[in-house]
């Protein structure tokens, strides 16, 4: 299994179960350690450890600095604001999680177990909302619903009705939950659907034979057996909510992300920002721990060798139309409407927007995403190759640390990277002045900082793709090559690397698209005057120039939509 955002997500998620296994198998792992590694392996290992250390340094730095004595601002924040940050962040995450699970699970079950008109199309169309980053969805909906938006205008002009403004205000907590749910439920949908497709058949068919009704089957059989998948999906949704900056700042909701931005940009207080980031990271770790607890010992593996897909039962009468309506309305709200609106706005404004500046935005985005994605893929190949070359705790720990960045919210990574780079600059200060540089801030004002942060954040996406590629080819070609006299490195270049090309390609594309959509890291870490499509779209939108934000947004949505569509086709073609 490779490709697609979703299978990547599945892998991210397999990592968690991998850790449990690792802990359980601790005994033999230590035995393995005693065996000496051949020299080439230690060469690869040294390189892998070097990369992992560099990538973990900002996070370690952050943890270290959280415990420094607090500043005056911090006392103020702690006393008057911290509680509302925590409540708002948790409320937002909790409600989004609940609604995303409700929608994602029911949709996945409907599409897996029943047949109704348009099912084949909707099966993948229901993934598409993931192509729209929530911040773009947020201002698109705001633009549609506000006084000059399409809905109120239509009501006024064609029906001559004026409804009170408060019914159209979505810039509040329930509005944010609505936006997040609408654009993030596909995580739950994708993982549970994949689970139903591979695991549920025999259990569900047994329940049917035993005469259970559909509602009973769903509540008593489907939900419990899919618990692991549902929890995994919900965790990803909540992590995305904690990572978000665009939606909450646009809607004026105080969460940790916005608070970190403010203390850093408005107060210029890095120490207080670090403390907030530390608390947010603590929340994330508690969440990951809860996930493990909730999933319990029930891992995905129910697998018997014969995997037959669930045979969908045709729906009849009004049940059929209810199913079409429910799936259709989610797709319309989550993809069709926002895209139509963005296209319309783009049509209105493209003449002003499409200029050299816009081309420069595309170039900036493509360059930043391309360089970082290449970095991710190269580092992932080195680490994944080390992990398959040798066994034991060290490679296992290495690959765990590699994928850690995906759980850490962007604002936290940003603060970690900034403080790390500033220290590096202080440390290199003597060197800068000896070569005659006029400033001490060289690294921390360069684009290197942004690219570095992208690599940390999206390492897991690329790594899981590469690792899946290695898993797929297995060890036999590698072993065959070595019996023919090729060492590890030669084998890697002549055999392994050539055979995992598809995985390299898909890893690169997935990371590229993720970086294209990324907002919080880009906003905090971009060098002066460096704008990307995402940052520009966000800037236009927050200046209430929503229509001008549309061309850049639609560009992002189309690129990620096309990438998702291609991966979907590849996955469907591939058995298993």
């Amino acid at each position: 299994m490779t490709k697609s955002h979703f299978s990547v997500i599945l892998h991210v998620d397999d990592k968690h179960s991998h850790l449990t296994k690792m802990i359980i198998n601790k005994g033999p792992g230590i035995m393995k350690m005693k065996r000496k590694l051949p020299t080439t392996v230690s060469g690869w290992g040294a390189l892998a450890l070097f990369f992992v250390t560099i990538l973990s340094l900002p996070t370690l730095f952050l943890i270290f600095r959280v415990f420094q004595p607090p500043s005056e601002n911090w006392e103020h924040i702690r006393e008057y604001m911290l509680q509302s940050y925590i409540t708002d962040t948790l409320l937002l995450a909790l409600w989004t999680g609940v609604f995303a699970v409700a929608i994602g699970t029911t949709l996945a079950w409907l599409v897996s177990a029943y047949d109704f008109p348009l099912r084949g199309t909707l099966k993948w169309a229901l993934l598409m909302p993931l192509a729209i980053p929530p911040y773009i969805g947020a201002y698109t909906y705001h633009g549609m619903l506000n006084y000059t938006g399409v809905i109120q205008v239509t009501l006024r002009e064609h029906f001559d009705t004026a409804v009170s403004q408060r019914y159209f205000d979505i810039m509040n907590m329930p509005g944010a939950v609505f936006i997040f749910t609408l654009f993030l439920y596909p995580y739950v949908y994708a993982i549970t659907r994949a689970f139903f497709a591979s695991q549920a058949t025999s259990l569900v068919e047994n329940a049917r034979v035993l005469g259970s009704g559909p509602v009973r089957i769903f509540l008593r059989v489907v939900i419990p057996i899919a618990r692991g998948a549902i929890v995994a999906g919900a965790t990803l949704v909540v992590l995305e909510v904690l990572n978000d900056y665009g939606v909450v700042s646009y809607f004026g909701i105080q969460t940790f992300s916005t608070a970190i931005f403010q203390t850093w940009f408005a107060f210029g207080d890095l120490d207080a920002a670090i403390k907030l980031a530390g608390i947010l990271m603590g929340i994330v770790f508690i969440l990951l721990f809860l996930e493990k607890l909730l999933r319990g010992r029930r891992q995905f593996s129910y697998s018997n060798t014969k995997v037959s897909p669930l045979k969908p039962v045709p729906l009849k009468g009004w049940h059929k139309w209810m199913a079409v309506f429910y799936t259709g309305i989610i797709f319309t709200l989550g993809f069709f409407l926002p895209v139509a609106q963005l296209l319309y706005w783009s049509f209105l404004t493209y003449e002003d927007i499409f200029s050299n500046t816009f081309l420069a935005l595309i170039r900036n985005s493509a360059l930043a995403a391309g360089i970082s994605a290449a970095g991710v893929v190269i580092i992932a190949i080195v680490i994944a190759n080390f992990a398959r070359m040798s066994k034991g705790w060290l490679p296992a720990l290495t690959s765990r640390l590699t994928v850690l960045g995906y759980s850490i919210p962007g604002a936290v990574i940003a603060v970690g990277v900034i403080s790390f780079f500033i220290s590096m600059d202080e440390w290199l200060g003597a060197f800068y002045s000896s070569v005659g540089a006029s400033t001490n801030l060289v690294l921390s004002t360069s684009i290197v900082m942004l690219l570095f942060a992208y690599i940390i954040r999206f390492m897991a996406v690329g790594y899981n793709s590469i690792e899946a590629g290695f898993d797929k080819i297995g060890m036999k070609f590698n072993e065959a090559s070595r019996t023919l006299g090729m060492g590890w490195t030669e084998t890697f270049l002549r055999v392994d690397l050539k055979m995992i090309r598809p995985a390299i390609f898909s890893g690169f594309i997935l990371v590229f698209v993720d970086i294209l959509k990324e907002l919080p890291l880009t906003l905090i870490l971009r060098p002066f005057n460096f704008e990307t499509l995402a940052s520009m779209a966000y800037r236009y939108a927050s200046d209430e120039r929503i229509q001008e934000a549309a061309p850049a947004s639609i560009f992002i949505v189309l690129v990620s939509g096309v990438a998702m569509f291609i991966f979907h086709i590849i996955i469907e073609k591939e058995p298993n």
């Binding site: 792992g29 072993e479 065959a480 019996t483 023919l484 006299g485 090729m486 060492g487």
Partner: protein, 241 residues
């Protein structure tokens, strides 16, 4: 080249009991030995130990004058051993043609010698006209012959075969067994092959090593050993009249 294996011991980290216990074997140059055993008997692990794909905890392996490994003191990595190995599912490189596959192990040879060797080997297995084909364009039997050729091309000091017939149709096995024996005898390579099929062992091997639970149960000429195993079987299951 002659082979001297003494007191090999090994266990996989995941299992508590040793996978291989006190395995010893002496082979003369050019001999074909079959390691016969049921699945789970550890026979494939023995092959992987000899190849250098796993590292034994104890024991030594010598081939000719070369020490492959000796207890914990020395371990020659697989790529330095100069062995040839045919894998159960052949492991032909899918991104290379037949010719490139066969040439893969000859990288340190001179160009002219390399080309000559490939011609010679493909002729030996009657597959000259398939040299530009890719593995997926070949039948199972052809793939097996290419895999054997690839392993033999660099003139290995020892040839290892892991269940070489398990992926072939039953009606092909007889012919391919004979072909394989001819090819190996033609090159005079010392050979160890692993199988669970007594018939394979009878047709191919000069000598059979019967393994059970990771240790040697019996060694002998195929005819003696198999006759005995047949006798045992009849004694265990009384014939009902």
């Amino acid at each position: 080249m002659h082979v001297q294996i003494s007191d090999l011991q090994f266990h996989y980290p995941s299992s508590s009991s040793p996978t291989i216990r006190d395995f010893s074997l002496y082979m003369q140059e050019g001999e074909i030995v079959s390691i016969l055993g049921e699945s789970g008997s550890g026979k494939s692990t023995i092959l992987r130990l000899i190849a250098g794909l796993e590292r034994p905890e104890k024991g030594s392996i010598r081939v000719g004058n070369q020490v492959y490994c000796e207890d914990n003191r020395s371990f020659l990595p697989v790529e330095k051993r100069g062995i040839g190995m045919v894998f159960q599912d052949y492991a032909l490189f899918p991104h290379m043609t037949v010719e490139q596959n066969v040439m893969f192990g000859l990288k340190r040879w001179k160009r002219t010698e390399r080309l000559q060797r490939v011609d010679e080997m493909l002729e030996l297995i009657h597959m000259e006209e398939y040299r530009k084909r890719y593995p997926y364009e070949l039948s199972g039997g052809q793939q097996q012959r290419v895999a054997l050729t690839r392993a033999l091309a660099p003139k290995p000091s020892l040839l290892l075969l892991d269940e070489p017939f398990s992926n072939l149709d039953a009606h092909l096995q007889q012919r391919i067994r004979d072909e394989l024996r001819d090819t190996i005898k033609h090159t005079g390579t010392t050979t160890i092959f692993v199988t669970h099929d007594e018939e394979d062992a009878r047709v191919l091997a000069d000598r059979v090593v019967l393994v059970e639970k990771g240790g040697v149960k019996q060694v002998g000429r195929p005819c003696d050993l198999l006759r005995k195993s047949l006798q045992d079987r009849y004694q265990q299951t009384p014939i009902q009249v």
